[in-house]
């Protein structure tokens, strides 16, 4: 009988709480979004399953030296995963549209508005300045940068910020279009932009070097992120390291994504997640995303007051990072009003500028707060 009670006591059933069940439901919701709605499935499936898994009572997963804790420790705490993800993003990104039209870099800056709006919102809700910076950066729509900054400034809220960043990134097609329509007129949405000039191979090879020098000198704390982003891009543009490019774009990125999903999901344990703070973080993340979209669109309209060749303000919303989904949203909304208006390549300029802008914003928070 004693043996029987000991065995029973060691099963998870006895230790199961309502908190675990709520977290299972949250994990299932993430998996539903990924599988049924196709929202960032590469991330939301591992994150959702990890939430599910780490909320199995007594499972040896997140204690010191246990499997997922090791992924978390070496991947996120050591900030290796965000940098490797940036290597893959760099290898997948074509900076050509931005090189052809450098004005679009300014849209990438204006779309950081949401970062600072959410930052002040977080302080008003009682978060510390460091936590507020980590919450604000969600508005940059850049998961790896959010993780990189939060790990350095406020690791206690890493789970909520990372999950909020990736969840909202996947919801860009839902969040942005109403705001874009609200802030633009019918005439503005139909603006056709001139075809971009072709960008030479030399320019594309030189860009990662120029960008590395400028950004790493301006904000040294983000050198690991920017350095690997530009290295990945150099692999892509030189075309002499096919195997390295292939590894960065596919195998490495896929492996790192699995570790990222498991590690991020593992931070969402019932004991530390079912509190008011994560709910505030999710709310502020939405505010950040909305205001970043507003910043990009409104600044594009302001630029139009001074430019001879007008830009379509719909590309401003792509200044939030979320590459290339935000650019696709600009294209889609533009084509609803003029089916022959192709904005995708024009929107890629502010889109990749947004990645750099968010990294600089994070770098400045690190410079001033770490």
């Amino acid at each position: 009988m004693d043996l029987f009670s000991t065995v029973i006591a060691k099963t998870g059933f006895v230790s199961l709480t309502w908190g675990h069940v709520v977290m299972w439901l949250i994990g299932l919701f993430f998996m539903y979004l990924a599988i049924k709605k196709d929202f960032e499935p590469l991330l939301l499936v591992p994150i959702g399953f990890s939430i599910f898994l780490v909320n199995m009572p007594l499972a040896p997963l997140t204690g010191k030296g246990e499997l997922i804790q090791l992924f978390y420790h070496y991947g996120l705490e050591w900030e290796v995963i965000p940098c490797l993800i940036f290597l893959g993003i760099g290898a997948l990104t074509d900076f050509g549209p931005m090189i052809a039209n450098p004005k679009t870099l300014i849209l990438g800056a204006s779309a950081q508005l949401g970062v600072y709006v959410a930052y002040f919102g977080a302080i008003m809700l009682g978060f510390t300045v460091k936590e507020a910076a980590s919450i604000g950066i969600i508005g940059g729509a850049d998961g790896p940068t959010t993780i990189y900054l939060t790990q350095a400034l406020a690791p206690q809220i890493l789970g909520a910020t990372a999950v909020a960043a990736y969840s909202y990134m996947s919801m860009v097609p839902l969040i942005q279009p109403p705001i874009m329509r609200l802030l633009t007129t019918d005439k503005e949405r139909r603006i056709r932009m001139k075809q971009m000039r072709p960008v030479s191979k030399t320019e594309k090879i030189m860009f990662p070097l120029v960008a590395t020098v400028l950004i790493c000198l301006l904000v040294p704390p983000v050198a690991p992120l920017m350095g690997l982003l530009m290295l990945g891009n150099l692999f892509r543009e030189t075309r002499v390291v096919g195997r390295l490019l292939d590894a960065s774009q596919n195998a490495l990125l896929n492996i790192v994504t699995i570790f990222l999903g498991l590690s991020v999901g593992s931070t969402m344990q019932a004991s530390n997640f079912l509190k008011p703070a994560p709910l505030f973080i999710f709310f502020l993340g939405l505010v950040a995303f909305a205001f970043s979209t507003v910043g990009g669109v409104v600044f594009a309209k302001i630029m139009n007051l001074f430019l001879k060749e007008k830009i379509n303000p719909l590309i401003g919303s792509a200044g939030v990072s979320a590459v290339p989904m935000a650019a696709r949203v600009s294209q889609k909304v533009g084509q609803e009003y003029d089916a022959k208006n192709h904005l995708l390549m024009h929107a890629m300029g502010p889109n990749v500028a947004g990645v750099i802008g968010t990294a600089i914003a994070a770098g400045m928070f690190l410079t001033m707060l770490r």
Binding site: M98, I99, P102, K103, L105, I106, G108, A109, S110, Q112, L113, Y116, Y119, F120, I123, V129, A132, A133, V199, S200, T202, E203, M206, F207, V210, A211, L214, I215, L218, V219, A353, I356, G357, I360, A361, M364, F365, M368, L369
Partner: protein, 49 residues
């Protein structure tokens, strides 16, 4: 705390703009020199022919 928060935001947002403006100017200069080199190479090739 609010003073620190405002200072961090003001300096941070300004540097984001400054950084991306610097990058835009840097890209313009880079493109200028790349195109200059390309045109010179074209002219040299035309002369050789």
């Amino acid at each position: 705390m609010w003073m620190e928060a405002i200072r961090v935001a003001a300096v941070g947002f300004s540097v984001v703009f400054l950084g991306l403006i610097m990058l835009a100017v840097g890209v313009k200069i880079m493109s200028f020199f790349c195109n200059l080199g390309k045109n010179r190479a074209k002219k040299a090739a035309a002369k050789a022919n």
